[in-house]
């Protein structure tokens, strides 16, 4: 009990210090980040405003940030060690230099918060009320998890990879530990990333090493990784169960989860987002470029269709960039409205598995995996 109190006071002191560096108007500047949608400043939960999404790679200084528990004190790259243990023949303690000696691979991949779009669900569900911007596409670089596990002599009987980050929960908040099925951990695209868009991963994004699990929800990609364990069973902590689970059978909106029928989320749904024009913006009568991005977890995007009349008629947009499974595709379509007025623009993606973005996203008690057809409104004015 005394210990708990001490932790509370330490946290209070840290909070007071954080408040002191704030401006008098309660505004908050997050070091290294341009202005972003601020859902929480301690710990930092930041959403990318849609207008920043107009490039294939999302710049680091506007990339979304999700933290469940306070982030760890900055890790010294000299003293950093990664423990590799569990069902391995050679338990390892690897330095950053050791990790850099392994072959380095580059994987462009989307990271999307499992709860991106939660704020659109009705009835409302608890959690960060993300809009459309808890997502980004970055180039990740580092050694493969499979090669680290090979170095440690991981047993072929290990069915899961357990990953722990250096962050720890305040008071009795559970530690953030995640398990990944070994088949996904051994996938050649699954990395222990040391770099993000060609620079060392910033502290907010997991310096010096983070897991990147392409095609899966962002919560799989543990930050500040300090331990990898080969295990027979999945971790049973809060962030594996009930956290980040999805109902096996859809529930009536507003009803509680059935714990026995919750499943771990694997992969991600098909989804597109309109990045231009901006929602509720005005444009002069004339040619208008409608742009956006689309991705489909482990699948590839096949096509994106766009409607400018609320969904009566659809036209196929032009996809640009390489067709890669884990990265997003940018898309674009030219539009020439003939009359001024208010238009509802919709986008709908289809993937290589035949999945199509739905009109209605499936409500679920934790507000995960929002992927309804995207929608913006624009007022076209007489030129």
């Amino acid at each position: 009990m005394l210990f708990d109190r001490r932790q509370i006071f330490a946290a209070l002191a840290a909070g007071a210090a954080a408040r002191m560096v704030r401006a008098a108007d309660d505004s908050v500047a997050i070091p290294g980040k341009r202005p972003m949608i601020l859902h929480n400043d301690r710990p930092e939960d930041l959403e990318t405003p849609v207008r920043y999404f107009d490039s294939y790679l999302t710049p680091v200084d506007v990339f979304f940030v999700r933290q469940h528990i306070p982030r760890p004190a900055p890790i010294d790259p000299e003293t950093y060690r990664l423990t590799v243990n569990g069902m391995v023949s050679k338990p390892l303690s690897l330095s950053l230099a050791d990790l850099k000696k392994l072959p380095q691979y580059t994987v462009p991949a989307v990271l999307e918060c499992t709860g991106n779009g939660r704020g659109f669900y009705s009835p409302k569900v608890p959690g960060i009320q993300w809009g459309r911007g808890a997502i980004g596409n970055a180039e990740w670089n580092g050694p493969r998890i499979s090669e680290i596990l090979k170095l440690a002599g991981a047993s072929s009987g290990a069915a899961f990879l357990e990953t722990d980050g250096a962050d720890t929960g305040a008071i009795k908040t559970p530690d953030f530990i995640r398990s990944l099925p070994m088949a996904k951990a051994l996938h050649p695209a699954t990395l222990l990333a040391l770099n993000m868009n060609g620079q060392p991963i910033p502290n907010l994004h997991g310096f010096p090493a983070r897991l990147v699990v392409p095609g899966w929800d962002g919560t799989s990609s543990v930050k500040w990784v300090i331990r990898l364990s080969a295990t027979a069973e999945p971790n049973r902590g809060f962030f594996m169960n009930p956290g980040y689970r999805y109902p096996k059978y859809a529930l009536p909106p507003g009803t509680p989860a059935r714990p026995a029928e919750l499943e771990v989320i694997e992969g991600m749904p098909v989804k597109s987002t309109i990045t231009a024009p901006e929602d509720q913006s005005k444009a002069p009568l004339g040619p208008i470029a409608i742009r956006g991005f689309a991705w489909a977890g482990e699948q590839a995007i096949e096509r994106v269709d766009v409607s400018t009349d609320g969904g009566s008629r659809w036209r196929e947009a032009r996809l640009t960039g390489a067709r890669l499974p884990f990265a997003w595709r940018l898309w674009q379509i030219e539009w020439q409205p003939t009359d001024p007025g208010y238009y509802t623009i919709l986008s709908r993606a289809t993937d290589s598995a035949g999945r199509v973005q739905p009109i209605v996203a499936e409500w679920n008690p934790s507000g995960y995996l929002w992927n309804a057809i995207d929608r913006v409104g624009v007022t076209v004015e007489k030129a």
Binding site: D4, I8, A11, L12, G15, A23, S27, V28, A29, I30, P31, G32, K33, R34, P35, M36, I37, L38, H39, N40, D41, R42, P43, D45, L46, E47, P49, D61, P70, G119, P123, K124, V125, P126, G127, I128, Q129, G131, G169, A170, I171, K172, T173, P174
Partner: protein
């Protein structure tokens, strides 16, 4: 018509009993400061709009994670009164430019 008047009176009485008095709300606000801010900023709470039942579950979840909530009832009334699911969703807050900061 004869039934309508007592029904309205009963509804008004229920509403009066249901809505918390100012003293309770003040206590709830104080409780929020004491029991919630050790672990996270208030933005996390104030950006949400939840039903009474859901706020109650959230308080109990956080109590399970170690925060002490001696005035739970007042905190719940305060949250429902200010951040209930019948309240309008606030416009998104923006952070200031921090690119020049380390």
């Amino acid at each position: 018509m004869r039934k309508l008047v007592p029904m309205i009176l009963a509804a008004l009485l229920a509403a009066a009993l249901w809505s918390a008095d100012q003293a309770t709300l003040d206590r709830g606000k104080k409780e929020e400061q004491q029991s919630c801010t050790p672990c996270h900023s208030l933005r996390l709470i104030h950006s949400q709009r939840l039903s009474r039942a859901t706020w109650g579950k959230e308080i109990d979840k956080m109590a399970g994670w170690g925060t002490v909530v001696p005035d739970r009832d007042a905190l719940l009334e305060y949250l429902v009164a200010n951040y209930g699911d019948d309240k309008p969703v606030p416009p998104p807050a923006m952070s200031e430019d921090g690119t020049g900061k380390k």
